[in-house]
């Protein structure tokens, strides 16, 4: 399998009055062609920032400080804005956002917005691109005759998300990033959309990064799951293993927080709250909330290392391999 994306040591900061928010602190991610990667974690842990960095959409007051983002072998952090627009964004990568209705421009018809994407992708003018719009709309199960001339506010959440998906997939990207594509939608619609996305990426053979805070969603959809905490990747594993055999105490806590129907157990949750990224805890950023924390955790940031085949974790507990516990 070919490597499509390889992010290493990504550091992103936001400069605010309170100080510098160290949003990403050496993030490592990778993705093969046609692979589906899930990124999960609590709010504010840096999922969106990671995704936006990959698209190079971090804006002031944010700044990519350091790192490497190899996309198809090239470091896209070295490209100029124009080159990004000319070759990468909307050509080889596209993105689906969380709130579909607010992610569509309210003053343009859906058809136009999709055509615009197609036009840019294929370097044709919008008139010609329009001819390809019906096809895209049909693909996501929308009645194109009706929906091509609708404005975003005339769509329901589900329809708008379909339109977004149509827009993102119409350019046949190599990499599709979906940042919480369903969390703003109703439960039944969520399921529909995920199923649709699933089918479409299978057909299109795209690689996908799915960002979600819902482990359940991620595990159903993805091949591999990356767990983030406070700007760090703390665990990477394939999606079955992470449930059956979570390694990092944080991942464990996360799993024990999810209510599961039929499983009548107490939910324990994770004590404490997410740290302030202006002055993150020293060492392992999770240590103040960790039941297993020991001295080293307070001093030293654990590195992400492969503990089991294909299963990476950043925790000092496993510096000597897997222990039971």
């Amino acid at each position: 399998m070919k490597r499509l994306l390889d992010v290493s040591d990504l550091r992103v900061m936001f400069h605010t009055y309170r100080g510098t928010i160290k949003a990403l602190n050496g993030v490592r991610l990778w993705l093969n062609e046609e692979e589906r990667l899930g990124i999960v974690g609590e709010t504010g842990c840096g999922k969106s920032v990671s995704a936006l960095s990959v698209m190079r959409l971090i804006e002031a007051p944010g700044e990519i400080i350091d790192g490497q983002i190899l996309f198809e072998g090239n470091d896209i952090l070295k490209l100029s804005e124009e080159e990004m627009d000319r070759h990468i964004r909307g050509k080889r990568m596209s993105m689906i956002f969380q709130e579909p209705i607010s992610a569509l421009n309210p003053v343009f018809k859906v058809g136009f917005q999709i055509a615009e994407a197609i036009a840019h992708r294929n370097d044709i003018d919008i008139g010609d691109a329009y001819k390809l719009v019906p096809e895209s709309l049909e693909m996501v199960g929308l009645d194109w005759k009706r929906s091509i001339d609708l404005y975003p506010h005339e769509l329901s959440g589900g329809m708008a998300q379909r339109a977004m998906i149509a827009m993102a997939l119409a350019i046949k990207p190599k990499l599709l990033i979906a940042d919480e594509p369903t969390s703003a939608l109703d439960v039944t619609i969520q399921a529909q959309i995920l199923q649709l996305l699933d089918e479409l990426v299978k057909i299109g053979k795209n690689a996908v990064i799915l960002i979600t805070h819902d482990l359940g969603v991620a595990s159903e959809f993805c091949d591999r799951i990356t767990v983030m905490y406070a700007g760090n990747v703390i665990e990477i594993s394939n999606s079955e293993e992470i449930f059956d055999e979570p390694l990092h105490p944080y991942t464990k806590g996360l799993i024990s927080s999810i209510p599961i129907i039929g499983a009548s157990r107490e939910l324990t949750g994770i004590p404490g709250s997410v740290p302030d990224l202006v002055s993150p805890p020293s060492g392992c950023r999770f240590h103040p909330r960790c039941d297993f924390c020991f001295d080293r955790c307070r001093m030293e940031l654990p590195a992400l290392s492969e503990i089991l085949p294909g299963h990476f974790v950043a925790c000092h507990l496993y510096s000597d391999g897997v222990k039971e516990g």
Binding site: R86, I88, R89, S94, E99, L104, N105, P106, A117, E154
Partner: protein, 336 residues
Amino acid sequence: MKLETFIIKRLFLMLIVLFGVSVVVFVVARAIPADPVGAILGGNAPIELVDEMRRRLGLDKPLFDQFLDFMSGVVRGDLGVSIKSNRPVIKDIAEFFPATLELALVAALISIILGVPLGIFSAVHRNKLVDHFCRVFSILGVSMPVFWTGLLLLILFYYRLGWLPGSGRVGIFTVMPPKVTGLLLLDSLLAGDFGAFKDALSHIILPAVVLGYSATASIARIMRSSMLDVLRQDFIRTAKAKGIGRRLVIYRHALRNALIPVVTVIGLTFGSLLEGAVLTETIFGWPGLGRYIVNSLLLLDYPAIMGGTLFVAVVYSLVNLVVDIIYAALDPRMRV
């Protein structure tokens, strides 16, 4: 259709407001402790003549009756007869309004042409030097007394440089094409008379710039803040993610949205241009409605004050009705 019911409803509301305006202006005008007859007859007129004239004009009737007379006239489309000129007020308005309208339109155009790009520029280069410059430039417009800037510009562009004419709507010896709309720029174009057009244009530039510049700041300011607002929206990120480039993101995706609140402000500003023209009209000898109303007020020419005020209120309401319709055209969410 819905648009029609909307318009009808708005017109109805407008009637209510106009009634309110009439009441207020009537009450306020009558409460001024002066006497129109005395004013019009001048300081020399003997008191008997003043009393006699007052009787003749019906100003000795009970106030309520006078109000009823006035309102019944208004309902019939008759704004009464000016005490001063003894002409139907509506005729006076018809004479003065086109000049004011033309001035206000050109001024509005100038303030839009200046304000919108300044606002966009400021927003796009937020907190950079360009932003500071644009903001200070536009705010300077509202900061200086109109009559002061007016005179300074007059001295500069007319007196010192001689580039532009100093007073009036057209040159004295310019023959104007027949009156169609009353807007000289338009009339001369309609008649294909470019000489006249040039002349009218050169006359309107200074007053319109003075007036328009004073309205620039409010447009630039709202343009800037609404642009900043829009640039923060989710759909801008979507557009960027499409890779269409910064220019298109700003001018296609952001601008159209950002213009929506600007339109409202332009409507409100237009009202202030209509009425704020008094000082400009005085300095540039512009034969407009603003001076007419102010002068009527100084002379306490009740019918003219009431008629003029009502008329301005009508125009203002109509402009804002149009603005709301444009608003809807810009913002599909307002349609349905």
